[in-house]
Point group: C2
Chain length 320, copies 2
């Protein structure tokens, strides 16, 4: 039994993820040209920057300039990433250009929460409650609970589906306390622990508890299984995915220097389109944008499809 | 409904595929050391060389020296590739070291047969009949029909499941005429056209016609979908796969310079082991062999897992 969706909604995070992790300085104009190229591909939602502390993440010191500089197109939603009240305040200055919505961001791994945020799960829940309240006070909806390390953790090992359900329940309690109306659960394979059966089990457990919640997958290709995991998600009816063009980004977590980052948008699009699932994306234009990204970062990106090219041109030639 | 196998049989083709396509000369001793390292990983079958014309494939001019030099271990089967009577004669000199068996090798694409072999399907069938007869005359079994381009072709476009069935039927007719007893059908995604649903449809059609035949998949990761395709095959009960450590090899076919080659053995092993399917392979030793292969060829190989490392060490650390 499969429950394939008829269409999927892709959140392109390449500009934000990619330019955050690259060592070299990347010019504001280059960031803007990639965003503008991605805007022509048919993608629904593009994350254009990160409002983080420029001392910690110098690659995004020009977040404001990028948001001011890109050319919004059609009905694409553009988003920015932020983690705290200061980031929210910076994002709020661009309510005319960015779609701003809040997220209750948790981790299924207590050990990862401590490593990543220097606080435990309980403290993080309290922080997320304040974060949600700050959004709601500005009239910004908080509609999403994100769970990092939902399939395993470098610091804690395997994560059970029950732990993911408990983490989401904790997030739902924060939502209830603050009056946030949650519509999406986002499950992240932050460190590349997922395999298809694990996707099936976690999604099955979450669906059993919250049958009507929209689920989104944020997959990393750390060990090469991201596309197989996306396929497992599609078979379970998942219709929302985060991804990065060319596989921009990487893995900043312990013990994995040089590991791959997010699932490649173009491989996700090819998987869907070949299976008859609508993405709205022009794959050849997306591959062109990916090649632009590769030229900007100045080294090969992990995407195989970027280098092979789409099947479209071969189909067209074969039919001639 | 899934029909996962309890174990899989992997044919490691890295030494042969990898050293054939690399531009630089690779020393005989280095080839032998990779084969010997692979012999320690638990792999069942390793293809160690190609008995091809050294003027056409200079990378395998030392085939005999490699076969004489490696150290056979345990009950591993070692194989050599060849395409014609001259290659068979060269292989037959090593009946003590190699497991030699014949294959009726066809393509589901007439256009690819012409491009690749400079002859049509009918001529190729006649050649394969002679090839099978030559094997049987030496007491060598012919037990396999291989179908290249079984999921699509750069020169002919999409290939229907019915065409694959017809191609196999043509091969079975050759087997009948020659008295060959076929036990395995190998379906190859030679140019990276497969997607999971296509795997399901082709395997479904072949199974309907030959319910009891053992099926093997030879997948290429040209567009990044190989692991997802392997997963689709596993779900259909396929228990034999060809692969190459690190993703050694490449794509010599038109219009795809720089494209990836075969599915990576270590990603296939991880997929299986994480799903509870036994491979017999020690993943960490295999990753070490892959890193040796990368050092030998002198450039990064496509495997993501090679660069990230296995989950095993994180699991062990997390348990400490």
């Amino acid at each position: 039994m499969t429950d394939l969706p008829t269409s999927v909604h892709i959140h392109e995070e390449g500009p934000r993820e990619g330019f955050q992790i690259e060592p070299g300085p990347i010019g504001t104009a280059e960031k803007i040209s990639l965003i503008d190229a991605l805007s022509q591909t048919g993608l629904h939602r593009i994350q254009v920057c990160s409002f983080v502390n420029p001392r910690l993440v110098p690659g995004w010191a020009d977040a404001e300039a990028v948001v001011e500089g890109f050319s919004p197109a059609g009905d694409i939603e553009y988003s920015g990433l932020y983690f705290n009240g200061n980031g929210l305040d910076r994002a709020l200055k661009f309510r005319d250009r960015l779609t701003i919505s809040g997220s209750i961001s948790l981790s299924a791994s207590e050990a990862f929460t401590r490593k990543n945020l220097n606080r435990g799960h309980a403290e993080n829940l309290a922080a997320m409650k304040r974060h949600a309240e700050a959004h709601l006070a500005h009239g910004i909806p908080v509609n999403r609970i994100g769970v990092m390390a939902a399939f395993g953790c470098n610091y804690q090992g395997d994560i059970t589906p029950a732990t993911v359900v408990d983490t989401l329940a904790d997030g739902m309690a924060v939502a209830d306390e603050t009056g946030a109306l949650i519509t999406v659960f986002s499950l992240a394979d932050t460190m590349g622990w997922a395999a298809p059966h694990r996707i099936e089990r976690v999604i099955g457990a979450v669906r059993e508890r919250w049958p009507d919640m929209t689920l989104s997958l944020h997959l990393h290709d750390t060990r090469g299984l991201a596309v197989a995991n996306a396929h497992a998600g599609l078979r379970m009816g998942v219709s929302r995915f985060d991804s990065t063009v060319g596989g921009l980004g990487g893995c900043p977590f312990a013990g994995q220097p040089g590991a791959a980052g997010n699932i490649c948008t173009e491989e996700l699009v090819m998987l869907c389109e070949e299976m008859g699932i609508e993405t709205g994306v022009d794959l050849d234009l997306l591959i062109e944008a990916g090649r632009m990204a590769e030229a900007i970062v100045g080294h090969p990106l992990p995407s195989e499809l970027l280098h092979a090219g789409s099947l479209g041109r071969f189909r067209r030639t074969a039919l001639d």
